[in-house]
Symmetry: C2
Subunit: 211 residues, 2 copies
């Protein structure tokens, strides 16, 4: 096991490993070799072994990897067992969709509460979660200490809100606005730029002839 800084390339492959292993696990597959996993995922066996070696030794010569065990190990590396507490800021259509559809518990997050400014939404209970007024935000965070905030708010309020939430102790953002928010070094923001992905799609279908 090498003890080094883990590269972004490796980190970004981890959730994908987890997804495939979880799938195999649910199908009842017991063992898998780097070679056959690589075939499924369309990457080289070498890359898989190299990636895993950043975190430890999880396999066995001549056998491969135990699916349940490797799944659990990668889940652990990803922090799936840390029970992060999360609040949703903005209960509009997108926030609402996440409240309704997204299985936060499956990835180790506990959805605590949602906040909005609209009096039409405040007081509503969506999928067991109460929508609170933004006026209650400071008190609520001070009392319950969530560490992650989902930003499903209009673009122009994203940065001021992020600043406010950082001051309240939020450590991670799942940012669905189309702006990159700036946060201190010890806070992480994962941006979902819908526009960017749609443009990437546009790029690819605009030039399929030669490639």
């Amino acid at each position: 096991m090498k003890k080094q800084k883990i590269s972004d390339a490796v980190i970004h492959r981890l959730p994908r490993y987890y997804r495939y292993l979880d799938d195999l696990y649910n199908k009842g597959v017991v063992r898998i070799s780097s070679h056959s996993l690589g075939e499924k995922m369309d990457i080289t066996a070498s890359q898989i072994r190299q990636d895993l070696s950043c975190f430890g030794e999880f396999g066995q010569q001549g056998y491969g990897y135990n699916v349940a065990e490797l799944r659990a190990e990668i889940g652990h590396i990803l922090g799936i067992d840390n029970d992060h507490k999360l609040i949703i800021i903005g209960a509009g259509h997108l926030g609402h969709a996440l409240l309704q559809n997204f299985d936060f518990a499956k990835v180790g997050f506990h959805l605590d509460s949602a906040f909005d400014v609209s009096s039409t939404l405040i007081g509503d209970e969506i999928n067991g979660v109460t929508v609170r007024s933004m006026d209650e935000l400071d008190d609520y965070v001070a009392q319950h200490h969530p560490n992650v905030a989902v930003l499903t708010v209009p673009q122009h309020v994203a940065q001021p809100l992020a600043d406010r939430l950082v001051a309240l102790g939020i450590r991670g953002f799942w940012n669905f606005t189309n702006v990159e928010i700036s946060v201190p070094e010890d806070v992480y923001s994962e941006d979902i730029h819908f526009v960017d992905t749609l443009l990437t799609l546009s790029y690819h279908i605009s030039r399929t002839p030669q490639e």
Copy 2:
């Protein structure tokens, strides 16, 4: 200008360039150098010039780049002026949120129609777009020839639906389900894996102490 295969790394930076240039453009900024753009975007000036050189020569020595012009060029490279026609498959919470909030026109897409299986939704008009029955899908596509489909449907129907849509001539997928759909070489699928991004976030906030 080098004539070569464009690497994925470059392609994935293009929408970000476009976003920054669009922002500068809207602020009325006329010119920018690779150095100052790099400072804003937190990348090297060298990388910007190297990236752009894949597509042409857009700058001028001693001056830099004209913001409006470079924005338009990158938009063109991304295919923003191709007026792609798009349909939404699945008008549940997430599909609904996209119908309501997302400015498809801004990125050169024309939202044509939405489809669902639920009789509660069929016939509804959301933001000017009619929700049609999935039974009408084949006829509709044959007649209107949309080239992109948004998949906001349950996981287990994603692959069969994708197959059906490919057969109908769809060239690109904006896939919001948590499975990777397999498509022919000349079709492109852009996957939005919410779970993966949330796990990446989890990884980062689970180990901030040392980094």
